[in-house]
């Protein structure tokens, strides 16, 4: 980052602004979005509905991971294995049924697809969120601990092209935040 070249060590993580309730946060997010910030986020104790629109955040791609896992990790291998076992590896005539009695393979195919789909959903969520990440600069802030209780935060990173320690802080205060702090990296 060019602007930070002179003081690389002193570069803060960004600014953290505290809000009291979802309504204040929601309106503040709309303003931050409209101001053109890119590297910023909201932090809430629970998912505030509609906040993704107020933030202009994109849709989740997690469903695709789940689908790929379910289909290519579950459905196809499970059905293929059962068919191969029945037709090739371990041929058993049961009640004179055909070797490829595929109807009997559906339950296991279904169950394995569900398992892989579920694993895919959880893994996808973790991968896109870059979790686990036990260390994060925001944890330097004492007040930030209350994000998981009853406070609502907006963080704007110093990497954002529009970031300016004083200007952005004033902007956040104008949005109604009582407490804006600079968070060290």
């Amino acid at each position: 980052m060019s602007s930070a070249a002179t003081s690389t060590t002193a570069q803060p993580y960004g600014l953290l602004a505290e809000f009291d309730n979802p309504a204040e946060l929601y309106h503040a997010c709309e303003k931050v979005r409209d101001e053109g910030y890119q590297k910023w986020d909201a932090h809430t104790p629970f998912p505030v509905h509609g906040l993704e629109d107020a933030m202009g955040a994109p849709r989740s791609k997690v469903p695709w991971v789940s689908l790929v896992f379910a289909l290519f990790g579950g459905t196809i291998p499970a059905f293929a294995l059962q068919s191969w076992v029945a037709v090739e590896a371990s041929r058993q005539v049961i009640s004179g049924k055909p070797m490829l009695s595929w109807q009997a393979f559906i339950p296991v195919t279904f169950e394995v697809s569900v398992l892989l789909g579920a694993i895919g959903a959880l893994l996808g969520m973790l991968i896109f969120n870059r979790l686990p990440q036990l260390y994060h600069s925001l944890f330097h802030s004492e007040r930030f601990e209350r994000f998981s209780d009853d406070k609502f935060f907006i963080s704007i990173e110093s990497r954002d092209p529009k970031f300016d320690a004083e200007g952005t802080a004033a902007f956040l205060r104008a949005l109604g935040s009582d407490h804006v702090e600079l968070v060290e990296d």
Partner: protein, 484 residues
């Protein structure tokens, strides 16, 4: 600007016509955190210790029973030639069924946007996990030589012999183990934000590290919440057909065989309804005392109890209908073996078990037509225990059909031994040990989810208008007066 700018009236108004609010007592977000976290953070209660020691004792009984079983073989049970399946399968089906309510609450009610689920879903999902653990233990020990258990997995052995994928018993291995795994993933996903809450509140170093480790560094980022909610929705969507398939496949264990009384197409829906029925009874049995002991009557309200009682009424009626329909079809089929099997259930040597089942499963739930009964916790609690007993006997009645099949010369009477009893009681020990550990170490109510269904969680909630720091005009005062 303070946090509590909204008034009591605002809190109590429910946007949906005059229903009781989901969170009582005018709590704010912080109060909810406190209420749920307190029992975990407080010093251990003597009552908990007594309960835990009791559960451990029963778990010890299970341990002894299983060790003796592995040493001696399944002959220590009361199994005999016609009744090759005894209490092990009865207990297995009983426990799997219990688990179903947890998934129904967490997944199906989630898809139907039943917001009241948030008060009870965490504990119900925990119940599911522990019930499935108990359930899985029974087929595991029932195989007798448990060191050969890997044979159920699709791993070729030295004889290049594969399991039979056409067998419902093998489907069962997949269904129940995957059900347990997916329930665990679902439960854990739901726990992540609450583990972060526990981490941020933790005083001790160990607690902070442990909660922090499993919270994965959750920081409530809304960009994370978007992926999180997507994953949660998918898990709910996958769990819904999964839970229906599990008891369907369990019922195939019976229905695919050629035994009179078992070989019926009604089994899958009848088993699923029974599972939900018994599971909700167990949720009520656990939650009615827990909400009082842990002082959470404002989060787990009478409305929650009443809703669950209504589900018991519905599923109990379905089960009663299924019992009647089995008889009708037995008569209508014109098959004498089928007819005999059902008459024998009612008036044969096991008549007592059949009538216990009918009284507990058909008559008991009908009490819930009366609103007074649905809304009186002690009555619901007592009735829920009857349902638990009745559903255990249902599985006993079904299994014991084996005692009289086609040939009278092979009939026999099944008598459980002390070791059967040890395994049944012991499995309750396993269940309660796990459940008590859960109550002690994890938040028993989904904190983040409860907050999200409170009226003030909605950013457009009426109560916020006068707190809008000026930029949308001066009309906010009128709102205030309306509310007051």
């Amino acid at each position: 600007m303070s946090t509590k700018v909204y008034t009591e009236t605002h809190q109590l108004s429910d946007p949906v016509a005059e229903r009781a609010p989901l969170v009582l007592g005018g709590l704010d977000f912080h109060d909810v955190t406190e209420m749920v976290a307190r029992p975990v953070e407080d010093k251990i209660q003597p009552l908990w210790v007594v309960a835990f020691l009791g559960a451990l004792t029963l778990l010890g009984v299970y341990g002894i029973s299983v060790v003796w079983l592995v040493w001696e073989g399944t002959g220590i049970w009361g199994l005999n030639n016609p009744v090759d399946w005894g209490w092990a399968i009865v207990n297995f089906v009983f426990w799997v069924g219990i688990g179903h309510a947890g998934t129904l609450i967490s997944a199906i009610l989630f898809l139907f946007r039943q917001k009241w689920r948030t008060g009870i879903n965490r504990a119900a999902e925990a119940m599911t996990l522990f019930a499935v653990a108990c359930a899985l233990s029974f087929p595991t020990i029932h195989v007798g030589r448990i060191w050969l258990l890997p044979w159920v997995f699709p791993i070729p052995n030295q004889m290049w012999a594969w399991p039979n994928f056409r067998s419902p018993l093998l489907w069962d291995v997949f269904a129940v183990s995957i059900y347990g795994t997916v329930s665990l993933l679902f439960w854990y996903t739901g726990l992540i934000p609450d583990l972060a809450t526990m981490r941020d509140r933790a005083k001790g170093k160990i607690a902070r590290f442990a909660y922090g480790f499993f919270a994965l560094g959750w920081r409530g980022s809304h960009r994370h919440w978007i992926n999180y909610e997507s994953a949660y929705g998918i898990l709910a969507g996958l769990s819904t057909p999964l839970v229906l398939s599990v008891h369907t496949i369990v019922s195939f264990d019976f229905a695919v065989s050629q035994i009179p009384g078992w070989h019926t197409t009604i089994f899958p829906p009848y088993f699923v309804a029974g599972a939900v029925f018994s599971g909700f009874a167990m949720v009520l049995t656990l939650m009615i005392p827990a909400r009082v002991i842990f002082q959470m009557t404002e989060l787990i309200t009478i409305r929650h109890i009443e809703n669950m009682a209504k589900i018991i009424l519905l599923t109990g009626s379905l089960v009663g209908y299924a019992y009647a329909m089995e008889f009708f079809i037995a008569w209508y089929s014109g098959n004498p073996y089928e007819q005999f099997a059902f008459v024998n259930r009612m008036f044969g040597p096991y008549w007592w078990a059949y009538w216990i089942m009918i009284s507990c499963n058909v008559i008991t739930p009908q009490m819930f037509w009366v609103k007074k009964f649905r809304t009186t916790p002690i009555i619901v609690f007592v009735l829920s225990i009857f349902v638990n007993i009745g559903m255990w006997f249902e599985r006993f009645v079904i299994t014991i059909t084996l005692s009289a099949d086609y040939l009278p010369s092979s009939w026999g009477y099944y008598r459980p031994t002390i070791w059967d009893l040890g395994c049944l009681i012991g499995s309750f020990g396993l269940f309660f040990t796990l459940f008590l550990l859960f109550l002690k170490f994890l938040p028993m109510v989904a904190i983040a989810e409860v907050k999200s269904v409170m009226p003030q969680a909605n950013p457009h909630w009426d109560g916020y208008h006068h707190d809008d720091h000026g930029h949308d005009g001066g009309d906010h005062d009128t709102h205030d007066e309306e509310a007051a």
